[in-house]
């Protein structure tokens, strides 16, 4: 019950982590099934329809329900601590964001047991995703599930923007913020501008499918290429929503374990901003073969290549952060240094893809599959692993085991390169993506076998990680405030895990890497910027949970509003939008209660603080 009503950012972080981890596991199993099917030519392990459902759900789950929530978990766990705040700006909204994400994700995954998963690819290109060609409710689960989950992301993004703008500790100017706080800030800004696009797209597609509208339906004058534009004007910035937080994590982990401040801090900040800006300018590079014509193709080619410049700045700054330092190979740092060459490989193939005439060959082949897995798995997932191992003691008060951590790293990264490196060649040798099987004797067989074995090895790496979590959870929670001993930022100045109010006294920030600065000046901790006083805390509430349940019911009701059920009562309830109405009633009722009942929260008094 405590977990259903919490508005504490640290508990919400843990909720995000478990829920994200669950969906990540589902997505991972889907990946393993996909790779087993492709282990040899003309395999009959899965049928074509199931395979298409698996690739669709694997992509959708991993992007929206697997890695994004884990990113949000780390942001929630770390950002208020890093900027010296007691919570996020809107704790109630923070909880609401989590619950809408969870119920959106549950709705999407219900499709497996409620009559067919979505099967039109994670991009859901029309007309394949229209009712004419995808007659089950699969794509409805996609549109409505993602709509609800996306609501949570948008809420979270706005919340972090407000938090970072308004709640930094005294002295923490923008140019003194830790890099992870910077990338979270920029990521949140991208969310703010990119998510409305997918929201609109999903509404239009839902209307086409459920209400018979004709936005994309060719027969009714709709335009299927319009969907591609809407999707990618969201979808490309989405890539940066994913990778920028990983950049932030790497920029935290490497300086800590190299015992040096981040090289070229201000150029890192401007590179991040530039990447975000360019990220919005290049969506059509996903559409070179759609027939946009040479002018558009040339413009989008060149603008895409430009992204290599700020990304290159980051890579070299990380390398030179370690130059002259004292590098320790702890598990988080192994993931961070493994990230650099791996992500660089994903980056250079990105530049190759940007060249439109060459992309006519690369597009929709395994070369692309290899490229974006290098970026998303080799970049983001390695980054997340680095971050999770790094901040685990702060989140749970327990250090993850170093031995198992190293096993996780080596099996995962070797498995990763085995899986995806060979896929570059599969693509160049003529294997298109999203094929449920392939004919023999095309020289695809051996490379696919290697790829599948690699995927298995990555799975083993994940098992090591789970074992590590399990064994760690049985140990006492006795991690030090600064368990890595070289912590540089504010989160390491307070106990692990932090008390509910984070900082007894808001710290005074005197420079970049505030804690490191105090340590080198010979101080034990931060200088407080305020006397010990009464701390205002928000009240726990069940309303965010109820609101999300309401939206969930409304979504299901809307989705099935045109179906005929075997039971007349059910048909009556659904066809007259009674279920939808009921769900909306719960949501709006909860909103009304939130508005009418004035909750002032509660206070932790100084005596209580001293008592601890």
């Amino acid at each position: 019950m405590d977990w259903l009503t919490t508005v504490d950012h640290k508990k919400i972080a843990i909720l995000y982590l478990w829920a994200g981890g669950l969906f990540f596991g589902i997505g991972g199993l889907e990946a393993i099934l996909i790779r087993i099917q492709l282990i040899k030519p003309m395999n009959t392990f899965l049928d074509a329809q199931t395979f298409n459902e698996l690739i669709t759900m694997h992509g959708t789950t991993m992007i929206f329900l697997g890695v994004m929530p884990v990113i949000f978990a780390l942001m929630n766990a770390v950002i208020p601590l890093q900027i010296g705040a007691r919570d996020v700006a809107f704790p109630f909204l923070n909880a609401l964001g989590f619950w809408t994400f969870l119920f959106g994700g549950i709705l999407l995954n219900l499709s497996w047991i409620m009559g067919g998963a979505p099967d039109a690819g994670w991009t859901s290109y029309t007309p394949l995703s229209t009712t004419t060609y995808s007659a089950t409710h699969g794509v409805d689960f996609y549109t409505i599930g993602l709509q609800i989950a996306g609501l949570g992301t948008l809420i979270g993004g706005i919340n972090f923007l407000a938090t970072i703008i308004t709640m930094r500790a005294p002295g923490m100017s923008y140019m003194r913020m830790p890099m992870f706080a910077w990338t979270t800030f920029i990521t949140s800004a991208i969310i703010l501008f990119a998510f409305p696009a997918i929201t609109v797209g999903l509404v239009l597609l839902t209307f086409d499918r459920i209400l018979g509208a004709n936005f994309f339906e060719v027969g009714g004058g709709g335009n299927p290429v319009l969907w591609q534009h809407i999707f990618w004007i969201f979808g490309h910035p989405e890539v940066y929503i994913l990778i920028l937080p990983a950049f932030g994590i790497i920029s935290e982990v490497i300086p800590t374990f190299a015992r040096k401040r981040l090289f070229g801090y201000s150029s890192m900040v401007f590179a991040t901003i530039l990447i975000a800006f360019l990220g919005f300018m290049v969506w059509a590079h996903h559409m070179f073969t759609t027939g946009l014509g040479p002018v558009a193709n040339a413009l989008f080619s060149v603008s895409t290549m430009l992204i290599a410049v700020p990304t290159g700045i980051k890579i070299f700054n990380w390398l030179f952060t370690m130059w002259g330092g004292q590098v320790r190979f702890t598990t988080p740092n192994l993931f961070a240094v493994g990230f650099i060459p791996t992500f660089t490989m994903g980056g250079v193939t990105g530049v190759m893809l940007a060249s439109a005439p060459a992309d006519f060959q690369f597009h929709d082949t395994y070369f692309v599959v290899a490229h974006f897995h290098y970026v998303i798995v080799g970049g983001l997932v390695l980054g997340l692993f680095a971050g999770l191992h790094y901040w685990w003691p702060k989140m749970f008060g327990r250090m993850l085991g170093e031995g198992l951590g190293k096993w996780t790293f080596w099996t995962f990264i070797i498995g990763f390169h085995m899986t995806f490196f060979v896929q570059h060649f599969l693509g160049l040798m003529g294997m298109q993506r999203r094929v449920f099987t392939y004919l023999p004797n095309q020289q695809f067989d051996l490379l696919n076998l290697i790829s599948t074995i690699g995927a298995g090895l990555m799975g083993v790496g994940m098992l090591f990680f789970l074992a590590n979590i399990f064994l760690t959870s049985r140990k006492p929670a006795d991690a030090a405030n600064d368990p890595w001993e070289d912590g540089r930022t504010l989160e390491w100045t307070i106990p692990s895990p932090p008390p509910e109010y984070n900082f007894k006294q808001t710290p005074l920030v005197r420079g970049i890497d505030a804690f490191w600065k105090e340590k080198t000046a010979g101080h034990k901790g931060m200088t407080p910027s305020e006397p010990v006083g009464s701390i205002h805390m928000p009240s726990a509430t069940i309303l965010p949970f109820l609101m999300s349940v309401g939206i969930f019911i409304a979504g299901l009701g809307f989705m099935f509003s045109r179906d005929t059920f075997s039971s007349e009562a059910l048909s009556f309830l659904f066809n007259n939008y009674i279920v939808t109405g009921l769900g909306l009633l719960i949501t709006f009722g909860s909103m009304l209660m939130r508005s009418l009942y004035d909750d002032h929260g509660w206070h932790i008094e100084p005596e209580e603080l001293e008592g601890r």
């Binding site: 040096k260 040339a298 070299f316 004292q326 490989m345 530049v351 929709d364 160049l428």
Partner: protein, 348 residues
């Protein structure tokens, strides 16, 4: 220990690359890396330029990384704190400017090639015009200047520019012959995509659909047959000659009443499904059952036709053809008879 690991890890991809290049990098009739025509060559040239630049970049990053990781490991006796360097303006400018130069080096030929690829030959008198229509899950090829329509095997004269007009009858598809040219989508809303390629060398090339189009997307393959001018003329003439129907009148009647409701042969039937004229001379049945009498890559055409006609859904899940036995009520003998007729229906 660490040293050897790092070196090994970094050498592995390079060795693997070299190994694969030496292995030939795929079939001549399929691989992007073994281009067989000017369009694919233009893509391949850009690719080679890009790969070279990228390998140089990777080598620089990898060697700096390897050096840093080996040279600046923390030693047990180290207690003093390393110098906290803020950055280095000159260095940072250097690694902003060099990538910019590399981007320009790649961007200039890219833009040139983009506009060259836009040259579609649709108003070229010497080009062969072909209208390509994608269907779930087969390809229709119409030679507009000659009034000939065929399916699955695109026959073209070697060395001539082929001007394509691409569209689709249902969902999005993407027309791709890797060893001859890059791919181009087929859009359903009346926007015709145009492009062109030529195949200077005679031979058979494998084509694929590259855009997810339903369950049998992976099976939506086709062949491009590049033949001499004389052979091409002869092919056109025999495609236009009157239809040959089964000799056995019973089979002929069944063929007319069952098959010709959707298919066409010569001047008979309707072309809703794939045109069957001269199907005995094609490279494959249904695009994926390869006709090969030696049995290495496939099976003799008669076997393939029987396989297909007895279980079309089994071969290509989700396709639109009714089951000859269950839906059309044909007997096994009739199906085999039709298969024999079709296998024997060759062009001169």
């Amino acid at each position: 220990m660490m040293k050897t690991w790092q070196a090994g890890k970094r050498l592995l991809p390079m060795t693997a690359t070299l190994g694969l290049i030496l292995a030939g990098c795929g079939r001549e009739d399929l691989s992007v890396l073994r281009p067989q025509g000017p369009a694919a060559e233009s893509s391949f040239d850009l690719m080679k330029l890009a790969i070279t630049i990228m390998i140089v970049v990777l080598l620089i990053v990898f060697s700096i990384a390897a050096y840093v990781l080996i040279r600046f490991r923390r030693k047990p006796e180290q207690r003093e704190i390393p110098e906290q360097v803020e950055g280095n303006f000159k260095l940072e400018v250097l690694w902003t400017v060099i990538p910019l130069i590399l981007v320009v080096v790649l961007a200039v030929p890219t833009v040139r090639a983009v506009f060259a690829a836009g040259n579609d030959h649709s108003d070229d008198k010497n080009a062969i015009k072909v209208k390509v229509t994608g269907h779930q899950y087969w390809w229709e090829f119409e030679y507009t200047d000659y009034g000939v329509k065929t399916a699955q095997d695109l026959v073209i004269p070697a060395g001539k520019d082929i001007a394509f007009e691409l569209s689709t009858a249902d969902v999005l598809h993407s027309f791709w012959v890797p060893s001859l040219a890059g791919k181009m989508d087929t859009n359903p809303d009346g926007t015709i995509n145009r492009f062109s390629f030529s195949a200077p060398n005679e031979g058979v090339y494998r084509g694929k659909c590259a855009e997810l189009c339903g369950p049998s997307h992976g099976f939506m393959e086709f062949k491009v047959k590049s033949v001499s001018d004389a052979e091409f003329e002869q092919w056109l003439a025999s495609m236009k000659s009157p239809a040959v129907l089964p000799e056995d009148p019973e089979i002929a009647a069944k063929f007319k009443s069952a098959c010709l409701q959707c298919h066409a042969v010569g001047d008979q039937g309707i072309a809703m499904g794939p045109d069957l004229t001269g199907i005995g001379s094609r490279e494959s049945v249904a695009g994926i059952l390869l006709n090969d009498d030696t049995g290495v890559d496939g099976a003799p055409i008669l076997d393939n036709l029987k396989t297909w006609l007895h279980d079309p859904q089994g071969v290509k899940p989700g396709n639109k053809m009714p089951d000859p036995k269950k839906d059309l009520g044909l007997t096994d003998e009739e199906i085999d008879g039709i298969a024999e007729y079709l296998a024997g229906y060759t062009l001169d």
